[in-house]
Symmetry: C2
Subunit: 405 residues, 2 copies
């Protein structure tokens, strides 16, 4: 990738780009004394692109947001945590539509300009009265500096907010891409209970906006795995309000720079999600190189990042490279096991598919760090991929044994 203009890390998240405001308030959706309602607002209508869960069971807010996105213009997004409004039938659809209407009313927008998202427990209905009171408070709290507050309000079992933003100069304009995300359980390739909201002040041609989002998601959120479960509620939503004043970006006209910024934000959020996996004590980064095809590289990287046995071994600081090779073996990737080399960080632990003598104490020491890098050279070609996961601790089970209660 040729980048002549440097990318710069920017402060903040969803409100880092110009013309975006946000709010996070306590609405008492399911829990007390914590923010659980976020509102994102753009001062001028934005072109919108989205990627949704591939789960056949799709929560009501996804169906409504899809409907509202038919005209590819959005001005606001309302998100609640605590209740997913999934598996709630006709009532769920009525509630999700009403959720958009309540925000539209207070913001003076058409209902079609408002997207909705929910995360939390499945099968419960939204408390519409508390939701409405929350939306009223959120509208009056909107500000260009409240991105962090919104990032807090979309958390469920997350222990940390997840924000990222990058800027660059193009054609004399300062363009920023920012975003926030949530997700720590049910995280898996193809979007698990993961919500990510991205914003940019760039003007982007609509078709390219959707393509750019799809490509960035493929290289970031779709390469993260916590537990192999794909949820009913995930979405990644990107709003581009054009406030930067640039001429419309297309793939040929400024597309590469924009994609770079978008990928940086998406990968940063994806890694924050993996690191905050339920019960996790470290981020695992799996780097596969030397694959015959990009597809093979991705399959292999994802299988290792998703292996419960690899995750548990990392938690136990056990240099169990055999589990790594076994996971590559069942990944579906095409390769010759006798050609594989594996490193844990700087330490080579297997070569030509066999274990080699290595510094066991050093490996154990390395595995106490964070992040843990597992590098796999397939020696079958030149393609690469990186996937992210986290270790598997007893705490994961404790969290998920009692989540609904």
């Amino acid at each position: 990738m040729k980048i002549t203009t440097p990318m710069q890390l920017a402060a903040g998240g969803i409100t880092a780009a110009q013309g975006f405001q946000a709010a996070g308030v306590e609405a008492g959706i399911r829990y007390q004394n914590r923010k659980d309602l976020a509102l994102i607002y753009t001062e001028q209508p934005a072109r919108a692109a989205a990627v949704f869960t591939r789960n056949r069971v799709q929560a009501a807010p996804l169906l409504i947001t899809r409907e509202h996105m038919q005209q590819q213009r959005l001005s606001a997004v309302v998100v609640n945590a605590g209740i997913a409004n999934a598996c709630t039938g006709r009532q769920g659809l009525i509630d999700a539509r009403q959720m958009a209407a309540m925000a539209a009313d207070r913001l003076g927008l058409g209902i079609q300009e408002v997207a909705v998202a929910s995360t939390g427990v499945i099968g419960h209905y939204l408390p519409m009265d508390r939701l409405e009171a929350g939306i009223v408070r959120a509208v009056s709290s909107l500000s260009p500096t409240s991105g962090g507050s919104a990032a807090e309000a979309i958390m469920t079992t997350d222990t940390q907010t997840k924000e990222a933003a990058w800027s660059y100069q193009w054609e004399g304009c300062q363009i920023t891409v920012g975003g926030m995300a949530k997700g720590s359980g049910m995280i898996h390739p193809n979007l698990a209970t993961m919500l990510a909201f991205l914003s940019t002040d760039a003007e982007v041609e609509p078709n390219f906006l959707q393509q750019a989002l799809a490509e960035a998601v493929e290289d970031s959120f779709n390469l993260v795995s916590v537990d192999g479960d794909t949820s009913t509620n995930d979405m990644v939503l990107l709003l581009a309000n054009g406030r930067a004043g640039n001429s419309a970006i297309t793939r040929e006209h400024g597309g590469e720079l924009f994609l770079t910024a978008l990928r940086l934000v998406a990968v940063s959020l994806a890694k924050q999600i993996a690191r905050d996996g339920e019960g996790a004590t470290c981020l695992i980064e799996v780097q596969v190189s030397g694959a015959a095809t990009e597809g093979d590289a991705r399959l292999a990287a994802r299988a290792v990042a998703n292996s419960s046995l690899v995750k548990a071994a990392v938690y136990g600081r056990d240099a169990n490279w055999g589990r790594v090779l076994a996971a590559v073996g069942y990944s579906g990737a095409n390769f010759d096991p006798d050609q594989v080399t594996i490193w844990l960080g700087p330490i080579k632990v297997a070569e030509q598919g066999c274990g080699i003598p290595f510094d066991e104490a050093g490996a154990r020491e390395y595995l106490t760090g964070d992040p843990v890098e597992i590098r796999i050279e397939l020696n079958a070609g030149v393609q690469t991929a990186t996937a992210w996961g986290c270790d598997l601790s007893p705490e994961y089970v404790a969290i998920n044994a009692s989540y609904r209660s």
Copy 2:
């Protein structure tokens, strides 16, 4: 299925059928003071059929056993626990071949008549001297009543031996199918670190023997899941020595009865494996009905049995049916979410894809039992499937964090 001859539960496992002997001895392969070497022997050569792991990384003993099975006749199987002899390159192949040769020598057989299997840690080499001493002792300990001892010797993190046997009368002959299995971690559809050895005294036409085994595996071991990892060492081996004196069984000639007995043994062993999943406190049986195709039913049942979130909820005695529906949703099965009904045991918890009021205390009470049955009616057709799993406890992680050490 029309069964005119009743199937009878028989005592024992791998030596329940006539003409089979076994032994289990302490060879000190990796651990002290526990049996870790099993030998199976048939007094007259048996026709053999096998199913192997689909993992691209295949352990040395699998490669050697495949080679020896080319003539479809076996007289003995040597199995060690503690070291998997996987990812061991050329030396591993030499060791596996030598393991077969040592048993062949002592039993007066050709090396091609001996199959080998290994289970345990990946990437370590077999201690050939201790293995040989063990084989010598095993040969002298062979007896028709030592099936239980052999079942003990193939255990790794298993907490219980796994044996089953069924008999029936056909054409005046008493036919018995028996077997033993091991496996409690890395258990997943398509064979994980799971070894199963089945024996029968029936005379069976060779092609049908292989088909019958493949079908029985599809309905049993391939519907079991503990943790989603598929291993490098799995195999299911079936030996038929013809001692019962029947005319050769084909699909048309006695095939249905034989398959019934074989399935009963395989399903029993599969359930024992699921129940003994690492750290498990209960067996989970997932019954899917009303699927449009058998493939859909199997996909849905397996996804639920394999969901970490469903498993953790069962461990927590939490009637979290939303996770069940979400797993069906990402399973790849074709169905309409709005038509799904879900029961936890006798308690209906969701209908038409939505939660319904149910007795929460009763459901919690039900979930303290063993096994836990999760029933899912898709209302999309008439096909059914059953899959088995276990709950996910913090103990699973503790076991797998330190297995190699």
